[in-house]
Symmetry: C2
Amino acid sequence: MPQVSIALAPGDGIGPEIMNATLDLMKAAGVHDHVEFVPVEMGAAVFAKGNTRGMTAEAISKTEDCGILFKGPMGTPSGGGGKSINVTARKLWNAYANFRTFKTLPGVETVYSKAGIHVDFSIVRENIEDTYGGVEHRLSNDTIQCKRLISAPGCDEVHRFAFQTARIMGLKKVHCGHKANIMKMTDGLFLERFKTAGKDFPEIETGDVIVDALCLNLVVKPQQYQMIVLPNLQGDIVSDLCAGLVGGLGFAPSANIGNHISIFEAVHGTAPDIAGKGIGNPTSLILSGLMMLRHICLVKEAANLENALLATLESGAHTGDFGDKSKPTLNTQQFVDAIKSNLGNKPKTVPAVPVPAGNTQTFTRPPRPNGQQVIRTFKNLVTHVVGCDIYLDSPLAPISLAEEMNRCAEDTPFRLTLISNRGTQVWPTGSVYTECVDYYRVRFELKDGVVAGSFGQSRCVSLMDKIAEKFTVCSYELLRTFEGVKGYSMAQGQ
Amino acid sequence: MPQVSIALAPGDGIGPEIMNATLDLMKAAGVHDHVEFVPVEMGAAVFAKGNTRGMTAEAISKTEDCGILFKGPMGTPSGGGGKSINVTARKLWNAYANFRTFKTLPGVETVYSKAGIHVDFSIVRENIEDTYGGVEHRLSNDTIQCKRLISAPGCDEVHRFAFQTARIMGLKKVHCGHKANIMKMTDGLFLERFKTAGKDFPEIETGDVIVDALCLNLVVKPQQYQMIVLPNLQGDIVSDLCAGLVGGLGFAPSANIGNHISIFEAVHGTAPDIAGKGIGNPTSLILSGLMMLRHICLVKEAANLENALLATLESGAHTGDFGDKSKPTLNTQQFVDAIKSNLGNKPKTVPAVPVPAGNTQTFTRPPRPNGQQVIRTFKNLVTHVVGCDIYLDSPLAPISLAEEMNRCAEDTPFRLTLISNRGTQVWPTGSVYTECVDYYRVRFELKDGVVAGSFGQSRCVSLMDKIAEKFTVCSYELLRTFEGVKGYSMAQGQ
């Protein structure tokens, strides 16, 4: 009697072949005694019907009923407005943590295996925020903006997942990768929340590393890391780098974890050139399936399967895309048959995964929410309005702009304190070598003697209104203090 | 009689030692017949005097007079408000292109050299824009924003530099790395301007690659690239990754190129643990010096020096941080003496650099500008106001917010078309699984029948004023069309 239902989207190209083979393998390992797989329609066939999401309403509702989605590779059609199913799924279901493991596999030769370097670590990537909101505005003829957002509760969710997973895996140290030396406030928040989350896991050591140094370290000595948690874009870049260390996307599994719905998927392409030939490599999908089995508490079945996979790879069994060419190339089914025949065996050249006598936990999920939940970390902070940043679409030189702005601020509680261009101060002082584009920030702060908190935002809106009589105000930001701390950065040179 | 003056900042830690050795080597190669080095005060000693820029006013003015700065490694003091000299210098002098070459060196063992992979390519990184403006605002208790800006003229400058450099180097193909599949407008602009710039260099093939795939490719098969041009953050990450491929920052030179002032520097650390012992490795600084000599048209001297360096490394000469330990370790001066003794020799195991009979060009620089220049690409486009995005600091649920916003828009030309949270649509439709933070975007667009262009921005400001009576408006963006094309993105799910 199955306890868990899993929505199943085999994918496009080689997807159906490698998915069938993976399910065949899972069945042989006894997974089907506990799991019911529910087919859902996603991918090329759905896009072809003009559905820009690439998934039917029924597929969405079935996936929400199941709480787990197992999916093969799917492409995004170019042109026609089709959107990436992966991105849509993560956003739609708030699968906030992308979890990927990178492990050197026996029989998979890489630059690093040749150098005798054994890779074995994980990346947790924040999946919702950063520039991935896709909030972009053309602010002037020449300048486009993309908003990079980082929220405290968004950070908290992903860091908590990372530490909990590290605890389950028995890891000793988790690193936070970031660029807080440049993005001091946003990545500063990501790092600060990491340290705060880590306090609840005293047995796990924490460290942090700037993302560019991290990439250098990963290329030179990847074995120094156990788990790294990163913001969205940096995590995207670093996790694909790491896939390269173990032989490519065909050998790296991926899970997208949310509180309600989680997605386990092959992240490699659909390989249309070999689709239908039955020769695709199912390793990445099998490895993602192992993550899924562990997620639903089928730890014993996952361990047995992993040992069988390792023993098979170790024996030199391989599909056409990798392995020792002096040994015969197997097709997808033959490769999976070889793994099935190794069920119960353990690898000899690499450590076997411990197999528990039975599964001690059962998978449960929280009830469906009634509406969107507002997640919060900081509440009821004392904030005071202290000015505003106003952004102008203008090709004027800074000095002329300053004259106009000073005039606008005359009868207000504000004074012009800064004009910057692309983040560099150009007024009251600046270098003649700073090249400007047609988009300026002008900053107004309280005049001397005006007390913060003596009025709200209305004075800022009035000032903007006045400036908008003469200039195109393409953007505006309220400047506030939070518990007495300035909620805005200084310009370079300020 | 020197034709070129170069401002010289030896740096901190091992900086003075490796700089002295590098200058000694350059003198032996005849560089001092053409160059006068002008010492300038930058670094730890200047920070220690309370100067948060780490460079004296005299150093700034001398560097501006010279137009070239050659600098050793410098740290940024932690605490005390000191700012990175590297970042300040790039911004202050608009050194918009970071140019770095990565080449496998004989005698420098790496994971890749062990695998028989020869690395030889360049990265050009945009140096001014992206999130490096450091424009950050706390918009609510829980949410912080960093502006990512990409401008057309900023892109044009860096792409033109890349193609011109590729032409001089005789490269056949230049790639653009980007994340335009996610940041469709900003990185879309970066990619579009790349393609446009490439049209002026018909002999050079162009290609583009998404940055995560690029990192995977670089780790698996770096020899497939000749030159890659990238936006600032992505370029920062990728170029440090690439330094790892050739043995680390100690073997990777760096130049920051501007129209008026260019900076050639060692990007590695100051190695305080070995400072003063005379044992630091000058290779990175020497390589950066070679870039500088080529920049000032001393091509012959650079070629001679590079051949001598390669011949020396090939012989097994090494400082303590690298090389064949069965051969004696040299100190900094001994290492440079070995290179001097190889002047006129050529390497045998790797290709020698062609040495021209003489230098055919002279270095010239444009006159000092009178004030900041406004650089422009697109002018006089027809723009129409079509609405605004208003951002609210509010923990309300989307449905309650929608009621309030609809009421505010009643007597205006606008209607509420969207509420999104972290880029995902939550109204008029949305998933109950989307978790919201305390910061919403509400989008107002023209009511049916209202013609774009029939009014300016004032109606938007009035609407914002009305909303600000009841809600904290933390941010605002004007929505416009440019030549009939929407200058703003849709939300995920819209």
